[in-house]
């Protein structure tokens, strides 16, 4: 026994036996990150397997449930055969392996919530945070730990179930690609749930709150499994499940980015309450909308707040611009493939001009028409911004791309039918000069609002980052987009028709 009274031995206790310099790490960054993450994973997995609340359901779902499912399948098969519906069996049999695989994977959600927020709740996280492990290493280590045991259980469950069908009285011989498809779907679903659970956990301080928030993951994933089942029973449409897997993989990448950014020491220790602080939230939002020091004036607002906000959107605006061009090209390509029979219309430019004139006369110069045009654009852009919040910014891109795709399609139709393309340009350019920048800016602000949580700036908590992005979207909406849309609306109703008229005449 070492005693304090034994100075020679006490040195070893004090630490002289170990040099207190930082050892040089020769490993590559990736190897180091994975190796450190696996230290965390090993501990977490070992801990999970000591928890009977995790081991028991995994055991039941891995071995007992597949065997019960086999019994049930036999009963169903018997019923189908008895009623002459056995041709339906090849469509229905793959359903059960999906379910058998899904149940153990759902445990990954429980483990993920436990490993992330449970540790926070038990206050065992801070000692871990004070070690040299990076946020990414901790995040990956815990994510692996949440995923590996349920995934292994899921694969085992599927293998046990399918083996039962293959070796039992059914002698079922599913195509290998079907098994691979089921395993891939199971894997990406586990990834979605774990990465989603990390995001949920980072926003709560208790497992209770995390479990409540978990419905945001469980419900969509359950709906997804139901949707996949609908596809699965239609063998000729099963190829769609690869696209579903790919889509889920994209969601995983976005959630991983979001989780890796949110899972940081600042965010984990800075959040001590689950309570909504509306007042502070409003203050942050208002300060971002206002964005000026001292007394407010309109020129100062544009100079100090609006223009810098536009500057900060250059990356998002570039993405939106690329999408617009891509939509035009895609529309044009589709236009070349699927032609409208315009050349059979037997109309000359004179009759077109007369038709247009009658059309314009319906509401020419009406303030109601201007308002309707403006409101239509406002509605679409506002909807895009709202949808951005729940789609990582994908929805506004789709909404922005759609009309440009249609324009590309129509332009090719018109050009192909011998009508002068300048007419299309005349119908778009006058108001487009104002409308397109408004769409570009609004789309960029919405894209950033939706995607910023996947990569929030360092040193800022997620809620503040999001509120500031919302503030930017709102002020640009009011300060730039709305005025541009009003001008575009006026142009579209009062100027564009005359320009088309001139071109046609």
């Amino acid at each position: 026994m070492l005693k304090a009274t034994d100075p020679a031995k006490f040195d070893a206790v004090g630490g002289l036996a170990v040099p207190s310099t930082i050892p040089q790490d020769e490993r590559t960054p990736v190897t180091r990150t994975l190796s450190n993450a696996l230290i965390v994973t090993r501990r977490e997995v070992r801990d999970s397997f000591r928890d009977w609340r995790i081991v028991t359901p995994i055991f039941l779902l891995t071995l007992v449930f597949p065997l019960l499912a086999n019994v049930m399948t036999n009963a169903f098969v018997g019923f189908f055969v008895e009623h002459g519906a056995d041709p339906l069996l090849p469509s229905l049999l793959p359903l059960m392996p999906m379910i058998v695989g899904f149940f153990p994977v759902s445990i990954s959600l429980v483990i993920a919530l436990e490993t992330f927020v449970g540790e926070k709740e038990r206050l065992s996280l801070e000692p871990l945070l004070s070690t040299p492990l990076t946020n990414t290493e901790l995040y990956l280590g815990k994510a692996f730990a949440a995923m590996l045991p349920p995934l292994l259980a899921s694969y085992t469950g599927v293998i046990v179930y399918i083996s039962g069908l293959m070796l039992g009285s059914q002698q079922w011989r599913p195509p290998a690609i079907l098994i691979v498809q089921i395993l891939v779907l199971t894997t990406v679903q586990a990834l979605v749930m774990v990465t989603g659970a990390v995001v949920v956990s980072s926003q709560t301080t208790s497992t209770r709150a995390a479990n409540l928030l978990a419905s945001f993951i469980v419900i969509p994933v359950s709906l997804l499994v139901m949707g996949e089942s609908v596809i699965m029973v239609q063998p000729y449409r099963r190829f769609l499940l690869w696209y579903v897997s790919l889509g889920l993989l994209v969601v995983v990448v976005l959630l991983v980015r979001m989780g890796a950014r949110i899972f940081n020491r600042e965010e984990l220790l800075g959040r001590s309450l689950d309570q909504i602080n509306i007042r502070h939230g409003f203050q942050v939002l208002w300060s971002q909308i206002k964005g000026v020091e001292g007394r407010f004036s309109l020129p100062k607002w544009y100079r100090q707040s609006i223009f810098p906000a536009i500057g900060s959107l250059k990356d998002s605006a570039a993405v939106v611009a690329v999408c617009i061009v891509a939509a035009l090209v895609l529309g044009a390509i589709m236009g070349a493939h699927w032609r409208l029979p315009l050349d059979q219309a037997q109309t000359d430019e004179q009759s077109m001009a007369e038709n247009m004139q009658r059309f314009f006369d319906l509401g020419q110069g009406s303030p109601h028409l201007i308002l309707a045009v403006v409101m239509q654009n406002v509605r679409v852009l506002a909807l895009g911004t709202l949808l951005a919040m729940i789609s990582f910014g994908v929805a506004p891109l789709v909404l922005v791309m759609l009309p440009f795709g249609i324009i590309g399609y129509l332009a090719v139709q018109i050009a192909g039918s011998g009508i002068d393309p300048i007419i299309v340009l005349a119908g778009v350019a006058p108001h487009g000069l104002f409308e397109i920048p408004a769409i570009l800016l609004s789309g960029a602000a919405a894209l950033r609002l939706g995607s910023i949580l996947t990569k929030p700036p360092r040193g800022m908590v997620a809620s503040e980052v999001w509120l500031r992005a919302l503030g930017d979207a709102l002020k640009l909406g009011v300060g730039v987009v709305l005025p541009l849309l009003i001008v575009a609306g006026v142009m579209e109703v009062l100027v564009t028709p005359h320009v088309i008229e001139l071109v046609l005449k």
Binding site: F10, V13, S20, R43, R50, L123, S130
Partner: protein
């Protein structure tokens, strides 16, 4: 070894740490005192690179906490306020996990947990699950974890809380030993007697600010006045007090005793003794009235509350 300049941490509107400037040299034990919510834990978290300063800077063993967080965390050992152990793990598994995290060489990983656990009297508990440890045992294990990688700087939050007197002494001895090895130890504690016994320097925090900083003697003089001496005599004073006026500031008196304050006890005490013996008094005892850190601390906090009240009135 630890240096901070205008270190500040803000959460929205809430100022958790307000322009803290500190300097602690190698081999010193530094105590941070203060009421709950004073900003002690946030300061320690910034020194451990767990939290990023909002403004200002801090360096630990020459590494900037914001620029080199991994290096800082590699050389700092932290005993957190809540030791938060993994209850399903055994003592040895727990320490081995942290030994891996700190990348201790294999030979050290095999021996050091045993040595430290033996020293703290937990040698027999290594194979027990942590859930079965008593509160004091858990605290000691958490301390072992903090010392496992031989840190240059130790940041200890309430290191002896929940410990029996014997264990607490063991820990205090270990901390003193660390000082002997030129390691720097910063302690945040509510145990003022412990801080007085251990610390070379003491800082008092309140509302995120350092309101006092110095050695116990310096703080004592600044906030509790000049050293207070007490003389006990063999007979009643009977008006002889006037003979001492002009020499020292008499603060209190009884029939056969008196108390006085002096800035220079080394020179004034012999003069007082000479004068009193010259007047025919026999000196029974002459001693300094001891002041505890608790007295000084309460005075510091009281004065700060007064300043705050004045500022609010203005």
């Amino acid at each position: 070894m630890i240096e901070t300049h205008e270190l500040t941490k803000r959460y929205g509107d809430f100022l958790a740490v307000d322009r803290v400037t500190l300097s602690v040299e190698a081999g010193a034990i530094f105590a941070i005192l203060g009421p709950n919510g004073a900003g002690k834990t946030t300061t320690v978290r910034m020194l451990t690179s767990i939290l990023q300063p909002t403004s200002g800077w801090a360096r630990v063993a020459g590494y900037d906490v914001a620029q080199d967080p991994i290096k800082v965390r590699s050389i700092v050992g932290v005993l957190t306020e809540q030791h938060g152990l993994y209850e399903r793990m055994k003592g040895i598994e727990y320490l081995d996990f942290f030994a891996q995290v700190y990348h201790l060489p294999d030979d050290v990983r095999r021996t050091r947990p045993y040595e430290l656990m033996e020293y703290f009297g937990l040698g027999d508990a290594l194979d027990r699950r942590l859930g079965a440890y008593s509160k004091g045992m858990k605290q000691k294990l958490a301390l072992v974890r903090a010392m496992l990688h031989d840190p240059t700087v130790l940041l200890l939050d309430e290191p002896t809380s929940a410990m029996d007197p014997q264990s607490a002494k063991l820990v205090r001895d270990a901390i003193r030993e660390l000082r002997r090895e030129e390691r720097t130890v910063a302690i945040t504690t509510h145990n003022l007697a412990e801080a007085q016994t251990l610390a070379d320097r003491i800082a008092v925090m309140r509302r995120g600010r350092i309101i006092a900083n110095g050695t116990f003697r310096e703080l004592s003089q600044r906030f509790a006045g000049l050293p207070l001496m007490e003389v006990r005599l063999d007979q009643a004073l009977n008006g002889a007090l006037g003979e001492l006026r002009g020499m020292v500031e008499v603060s209190d008196q009884g029939d056969t005793w008196l108390r006085y304050r002096t800035p220079q006890p080394d020179t004034d005490n012999p003069d007082v003794v000479r004068r009193l013996t010259g007047l025919g008094f026999g000196i029974v005892t002459l001693s300094e009235v001891s002041r505890t850190l608790e007295d000084v601390y309460l005075q510091i906090v009281h004065e700060d509350e007064g300043h705050e009240h004045d500022a609010q009135s203005d």
